[in-house]
Amino acid sequence: MPKDKFFKVIENKVHPNEKLVSTHCSYCGMQCGMNLRVDTTTNKIIGVEPRYDFPVNLGKMCPKGVTAYQQVNHPDRIQRPLIRTDASLKGTAEGFREASWEEALDLIVSKFKELQHNYGKDTLSVYSGVSMTNEKCYLTGKFARVALQTRYIDYNGRFCMSSAAAGLNRSLGIDRGSTIPWTDIHQTDCLFLAGSNAAECHPTSMFRIWEVQNRGGYLIVADPRETPLARRADIHLDLRPGTDLALANGIVHLLIKNGHIDEDFIRNHTNGFEETKEVVATFTPEYVSEITGVSVEKIVRAADIFGRAPDAIVMFCRGVEQQSKGTDNVSAYTNMSLVTGKIGRPKSGVATLTGQGNGQGGREHGQKADQLPGYRKLDNPEHVREIACAWGIPVEEMPQKGVSAYEMFQLMKDKTIRSLYLLCSNPVVSAPNLNHVRESLKSLDFMVCCDFYLSESAEYADVVLPVTTWAEDDGTTTNLEGRIIRHRQAQEWFAESKPDWWIQIEIANRMGRGQFFTHLKSPQDIFNEIRQVSKGGIADYYGVTYEKIDQNNGVFWPCREEGDEGQPHLFLDKKFYHPDGKAKICALPYRPPAEEPDEEYPLRLTTGRVVFHYLSGNQTRRIPFLKDMYPDPLLEVHPKTATRYGIEHDELVTLKTRRGEAQYRVKVIEAIREDTVFVPYHWGKEQSINLLTNPALDPYSKMPEFKACAAKIIKHKHGGVRHG
């Protein structure tokens, strides 16, 4: 690819007695390039240096990235396997003793076998995450289905990316989060960002986003809060949480009405336009304004700018997706690109900003309840046959489709599931309706947790296995562009920790299923199996090799042959991935959030992130710099709302919904709607906002409605303002 406008040749600073290991950040989907500083005498990671040559971030890093290396040799690392000695202390950090790997693995396997003997294969479950490498994601799916032979596997991507996946699949026939490389963003003429606080969640996108305006392009932001991104937008569509579908339909209505549509493109490359035209006909600016609370003038102006823009990119993120109609929201915003034909060419397209590090790759390799590697589906007999054949198991041994992440907790409660193998996730903080989740975990007969810190979820486990961090192992991830990149091992495995893939192969052996796993002796072996198994699937990695990734600074999938360079831009041939090659413009009637404010709960609660923390905060809350910058969650309230409740800045109040309550200090700020309050979700225990959130699920993606529910503030009798 040609050099970027921002690219500069800069030599790296190398300190004496040190080497630099070029790798990528462990956190969000940007997967920024960085160099880890390794002391060559101790072989320990001691710092970070920018990596100026990686085209996505060109050396830039957010505060999480700068300090990410500090988690590797952190004093909180678990050094040896832990076995619970006192079941009555479940849910606390107490009641564990250290054990050898032999003892821990023996205990796990004997419990698994005993439970399966008594209650059937499906009594076990696996719950994983997508902040791990493609190799681990793939192996986890195979581990559940081949080693444990259970149908119950799902992952925390249900809370993160599944609505984007479902919406993009429905509209475009393929779920690659971005149809363009990130290096296109600053070159477009109009950037429409919906439900994305990119400044705090994907900060290293910002130099490109600001450049759109620096060039005279437009920035349109749809968000209930005046985020650092919305602050500088040309138009800030300050909608009520949970009303995106009406806004998107309203803009499509205006694009059609104003003649800003590409009739040739619609005729030749899409289906569904007429039905959609009919549905959006009622979404006049006045009607949309009534639902969303955004002024008519702003809606009209946004549609006009988007319609007139020679090139435009629509981007969306969790604000849009974490709703009980998240899938519809994604398709509705994608409609904007499809009716105007602004997709399938450079500088125009759609993109979702991936939250988790490998949110993209993690949903391609078969760790979803309904999915097999290469985006194959479990309800497609041909797909099942292909993968069973690749794995060397009889077709009838392939477990059936399971249930989604949140639904698994219900099955634990009713004892359908009696054991959980948890890795790379902290659902006790990140799932909705936490009181229910905590009870579910307590009701398990046996729980294993793999983590490198004793997370809030690990505190519910019977066995905790210490695993390596991202900087102690090789592997690949697929970033938010669809670019497959290399993570490199920078130091040896910490203390007695082991990589997840090593543990899973060891358990498979002991379960008597070793023959399907023992040929996998390194991450590269696993990657080569991904290549073979994904061949012919939609997410085809066959042509990607470690060497090619190194040569090209990453390879975009699909990459079908060894000579194939990969596809930074999708649909350049205007062929979409539905069988007829056409995209689908979706007719989507509006429905309100699952829970609307009423007299008892008059406010709308929405949740999100702050720039200093990542997901459940298990990692970032332990990094001194990040902790100091944002130590506790704050409840953002508009000054007029604060006056109405008689509460002051910094006052401790109780926030309550139908599912739970928690106490927060108030942050009074005008940059939020009067009818909405906001709390970030990175904290555990009694500070978890997910004690309050609504588990209403999207019917297609099974993603919960984190972004909108009814809430009320309860003022404490004695105020509680902190002075001095």
Binding site: E11, G47, P50, R232
Partner: protein
Amino acid sequence: MGKQVLYIEMDNCIGCRSCLAACTQCGGHDNRNRNYVLDVDPFISRQTIPLMCFHCVNPACARSCPAQAIQIADNGAVLSALVEKCIGCQNCTIACPYGIPKFDEEQNLMYKCDLCYDRTKEGIPPMCASVCPTNTLQWIEEAELEEKRAQIPLANGKWTASHDPDVLEGETNVKISLPGILQGKQKLF
């Protein structure tokens, strides 16, 4: 390569404090940041601005130092106090109009931004500008600075940045573009 300068576009700042985190990673900074970020009006908006040492051409900190412990490097960087000379009087912390020099009680020593002199002398950008994800902090050549100056002029022919200000400390080696750089920006369509 021509002379390079630190250039700040205040309006771009999102308050992420990457510059602070990165500052702690520079050699000799002892894990302490020497730059700061301010919330402009925290009850109203999320507007933040970085506060960096401006590396004044005629710096008050150095002028006020009775021990001549504050040296000015060849690239204009105003360095931290020299260990062997600093007498811990804290004149510099009082003299600086921007509140940049800080005092380390344990070491009885002033410390401040040194423009990552160990990097900038080798043509490597300072850590803060390297990592700044928003291009608020940029390490650019003087020719680029001239281009920016031409792009965003005020009606009086001057620009929205700190050009030869007569106030405070006069000419600085770090250049600033104040909020409002997009005012009057010609739109593409």
